[in-house]
Symmetry: C2
Subunit: 271 residues, 2 copies
């Protein structure tokens, strides 16, 4: 395996860019191929079978780009597909769930952890399973927040309506006295301040995007797969989507450290 090969990262759309951003920050030498499945998003309301089929197509696409490792930067796909696809691959693959779960389990003082996410992530029960396996006896309260993604995408990150909806969603978690809350959807770090204000300053917010980048870094080092060139690679970061490439470019430029010059649209159903 070529240690200077790119890392493959995928998500149902734009949310996974919060993971890509952390990888760029923590591993500035690494090259990256990002795929956002904008033609078929959102994944959060689809079945396991469908998410698995979509994930396999995307993995075939990323492998055609000769990636050395894959990050599933989507909670739903991590919940539904990771366990199956990791058995089918001979390169390392990680998802956003394990790293976030581990951090939360280590952060809690009273053993009460909250998790928020899309309907699919929450109803899969994956965060609860993983955290309970890591530390039996902890109490996990999981709550789906289906309106958070549309509210963020409508630009209402700082708005009384988002405050009102967040208060309703989070009241069950406050009532259970959780001291740690996992932001179990890649969009949620974008409303971190609202969530933090409602939960109160004693509650630790865990951002799996950040933790996943650390896990990836450690994994590449351990396997001798960290990039070892200092030279600037030609087109260090490549972005592909299944639809609306220009809209993606604008959004990606707004949240990534460097400008995204172009995004290529591909037909993912060919893979």
């Amino acid at each position: 395996m070529d240690r200077n090969a790119p890392i493959g990262v995928f998500d149902s759309g734009i949310g996974g860019l919060t993971v890509a951003r952390e990888i760029m920050r923590q591993m500035p030498k690494e090259r990256m191929v990002y795929f956002g499945d904008t033609a078929r998003l959102p994944y959060g309301s689809k079945s396991q079978e469908t998410i698995l089929r979509y994930s396999r197509q995307i993995i075939r696409f990323l492998i055609s780009k000769k990636v050395k490792a894959i990050v599933i930067a989507c909670n739903t796909a991590s919940a539904y597909a990771l366990e199956t696809v990791e058995k089918e691959l001979d390169i390392p693959i990680i998802g956003v769930i394990r790293a976030g779960a581990k951090t939360a389990v280590n952060a809690t003082r009273n053993g009460k952890i909250g998790v928020i996410g899309t309907e699919a992530t929450i109803s899969s029960g994956i965060y609860t399973d993983v955290m309970t396996r890591m530390r039996p006896g902890i109490e996990v309260t999981a709550k789906s927040c289906p309106l958070f993604v549309p509210l963020v995408e409508e630009g209402l990150r700082h708005d009384s309506v988002t405050d009102e909806i967040a208060s309703r969603y989070l009241s069950v978690l406050k009532g259970r006295f959780v001291d740690t809350l996992v932001l179990g959807c890649t969009h949620y770090p974008l409303i971190r301040s609202t969530v933090g204000r409602i939960m109160g300053e004693d509650v630790t917010l865990v951002n799996p995007a950040y933790e996943t980048a650390i896990e990836l870094k450690n994994l590449l080092e351990e396997k001798g797969l960290s990039c070892c060139t200092d030279g600037e690679a030609h087109e260090k970061y490549k972005f592909y989507v299944s639809d609306l490439a220009e809209k993606f470019t604008v959004f990606a430029t707004s949240i990534l450290p460097d400008d995204v010059k172009r995004t290529e649209k591909i037909n993912i159903e060919d893979y």
Copy 2:
């Protein structure tokens, strides 16, 4: 063409059931094959090219079911695909836009019409184009309302948050003194009472689902394609989706006059 063949109806998901319901009410003898593209919804945020590709796949599927006519029960697909696909077909095909536009143009007294819909429907400009061609000189104000569908799907049809969001979206239309408002998304009839209360009782609300069923009825009669059997057909209504068949069955049963016994899941990408 067999006049007792079924009518094909399709939508990106469940919204088109409001159209199916009107067809069942107005043409109780007709058989129907409904397809909801639940694996790839929503269409409202995707490009014209993608919507056209999806629509062609679905039309090939419906034709394999030997339908005598097709109704595009989705505003986005009507806006982006109807004009192209009607040239490729030798059976009648209609969309939800023309019928709604015609009714609105006939209903307005002051020549000021409002249209609300998804981002894709509104940015396509289709309602404005069609209505201005029907009656030059009218003033059309179009406003996208991206949160209405997630709010309806979250069960907040009668809720202060929906009232607040609706007040914001509709204020521009009230400011233009429209006397007629087209509900340009198949989910919107489900929040008709909220929209009606905010707009005021002097504003006529136009429901394209209702008008489309009337247009279809007239078209079938004109072409000699109305069903002429009195007997009960075996499995009069058939429902197909690309994902989450059981969830669809539950929702469809809640809004259609009769119970939906089963929904079959197909792989639409095979067509």
